[in-house]
Symmetry: C2
Subunit: 349 residues, 2 copies
DNA sequence: TATCCTTATGCTAAATTTGAGAATAAATAG
DNA sequence: CTATTTATTCTCAAATTTAGCATAAGGATA
């Protein structure tokens, strides 16, 4: 038998779907990474956050198959039209196509895929629309911010809840797997914390029914059994953290994980900084993204040795101490080093 | 004005497109990374390779919006149905949606997006269909295989061709940019070679009109001017390397780059190996993927220290020398180290 | 003004990791 | 038995990283 690809239409799909583009637009202001959110609307309004915690949504727009030559151009076009933001760095993240990503009416029976993008903009730029706001990233993922040490909510809320989830496993083998997975993703019982596993952590919490979206989705799905170990008990037993509409928090988790990985081998941080900056500014932005504090002198040495920046000779004296020199990104580094990123020196200052 | 997302349909697209899933299925046999290709068919047959060099296509299948709950399940379903292969490791690569990816008739006017996946299968497994074949990866990208040193075709064919491309730039600024880009992506004029920039290299060659696909696409597009610096001169001036249908070679380039990056921080190599293996087998697979030779003793030390494998006590004596011990992947490493990959020690044996 | 506080920047000693290869072990081919 | 081949263990020097110490240079304040 021949492969399907041998058949007439070249095998590239028969059923149709519509495509939405979602943008995770990130900026860092006041040492806080933020993302641009819009207020959820229509039948999504109030879907999340009924328990008092308000919810957000990512900006999105449809792909216009006629006008938009490429996905990325489509994205930058409607972002420009809607928010006046001119996206510099844009990177495709992932295409989300689970049928259940929108549990209720499936857009009139039509399947909706959404292509997620990560975009970085300079500090200070803001969209002027009323419905949009820059929200601190870590409001959605409080357990990801280790800049002031291990977040207390891990021991206080997450670990015990995950323990319950593990215990609730059907058979010993299942429980063993759950235990393993919980330990690895959240660095429990001596396992190390891996800053890049943002998505794994969110998905584990979802599976364990510990984030709002999980409960919302299971309540909405008329047929299916609810995910392991959760019932419709309001917000009781939920882990802290602002929820989002549909699967948007998952998309943001993907973005954060990707960005944390990327800063280490590509000079993307500079997309978030003004043209000139001090070493400390640079360090604060890296720390904000990585979610950890870094050793100042070693960070400096690493960046220096990497040839990532060059001094401008100018000094700024609003540092609260000795004036600091302003540096700028050294473009030439791109042709000198294979992986010009900011290696993260050991944590803590 | 409100964002579009405020409007009724939740903003997620209006126009419809169809979705194809493309799989880059990789195995390593005889120290050679190979990918599963199918013979191009229908109006694609003979589109590429008319100059004698035959062309290939990636296996693909449509997404069935009704049946397939998730994209990944859809992929594994039709791969299983068509090839009997049971995909273990599957990773989404990228969604390709350029309108011009298929220059001619656009599937009856309907836009086609394709979601590319990377799948790893164990050495030895092969699909039984006649129309499929495992082709060495580096036939498509001869310049990526540095295991026997810098590929001569870089100096012989690529560098001079890129020089011409650079010289053909319209203005000095353009030429400067082209020069920079050529140097960085191909490691010319003292710039280092970065094994992970596979896609950048392919795209540069495409832009410079040095791969078959570029010429094919520009000939097919009735309206547009041909890309800089190429004309319809048969295969003259093309860089060696087997071409593929549509944008499939671009997808494969994405896969190779991603895989090269990934082996360094996730233990994915083991997906390509039998359950037990010798150090040299492991090393050969890593070398095959990375496209470089590694220092044997240091590689061993690195893998050992990383706790990636554990000895089985069994020996195999078909090594041609002293018998080697068989090792297996140590699952526990996942909970011990944040980034359990095979760091690449310095090149050369 | 002298002192203290703060941040910036330079420097170093110890510990680790890496790069290159010598040395030894254990098989097979003649 | 000897040469050859691959496996495995060690060593040593060079490079990098970690964790601080020390000095510089502002502003604030007694």
């Amino acid at each position: 038998m021949a492969l399907k690809s041998e058949s007439g239409s070249n095998g590239e799909s028969n059923g149709t779907v519509s495509i939405g583009l979602n943008a995770v637009i990130v900026a860092v202001t006041d040492e806080e990474p933020r993302l641009l959110t819009v207020r959820p609307s229509g039948r999504l309004r109030g879907q999340a956050g009924k328990g008092g915690r308000e919810s957000g949504a990512l900006p999105f727009g449809p792909l216009d198959p006629e006008k938009d030559r490429t996905l990325e151009l489509g994205l930058t076009r409607w972002v420009r039209e809607q928010t006046n933001l001119e996206l510099g760095y844009v990177e495709q993240l992932y295409t989300f196509g689970d049928r259940d990503r929108e549990p209720r009416s499936r857009s009139g029976g039509r399947r909706v895929l959404s292509v997620g993008y990560l975009a970085l903009v300079r500090e200070g730029q803001v969209a002027g629309r009323e419905e949009t706001s820059w929200r601190p990233w870590y409001e959605f993922f409080p357990w990801e911010d280790w800049r002031r040490g291990r977040p207390p909510l891990i021991d206080a809320a997450i670990e015990p809840a995950l323990d319950r989830w593990v215990e609730g496993g059907k058979d010993p083998l299942r429980r063993q797997e759950h235990r393993e997975r919980a330990d690895i993703t959240f660095g429990l019982r001596g396992a190390p914390w891996d800053g890049e596993r943002v998505l794994e952590r969110y998905e584990l919490l979802y599976e364990a029914g510990l984030v709002f979206e999980a409960r919302r989705d299971s309540e909405l799905s008329s047929a299916g059994e609810p995910a392991t170990g959760m019932g419709g008990r309001g917000e009781a037993g939920l882990v802290p953290g602002r929820s989002m509409v549909l699967d948007h928090r998952r998309i943001v988790a993907t973005a954060l994980g990707r960005l944390r990985g990327k800063i280490r081998y590509r000079p993307v941080v500079f997309e978030l900084l003004p043209p000139t900056f001090t070493y400390l500014q640079l360090q604060r932005v890296v720390e904000a993204l990585a979610g950890v504090r870094l050793h100042k002198q070693n960070f400096r040495r690493l960046v220096e040795k990497g040839g990532l920046v060059e001094g401008t000779g100018q000094l700024v004296s609003d540092t609260g101490g000795r004036p600091a020199e302003l540096f700028r990104f050294r473009h030439e580094v791109l042709r000198e080093r294979p992986t010009p990123g900011v290696g993260l020196p050991g944590v803590h200052s």
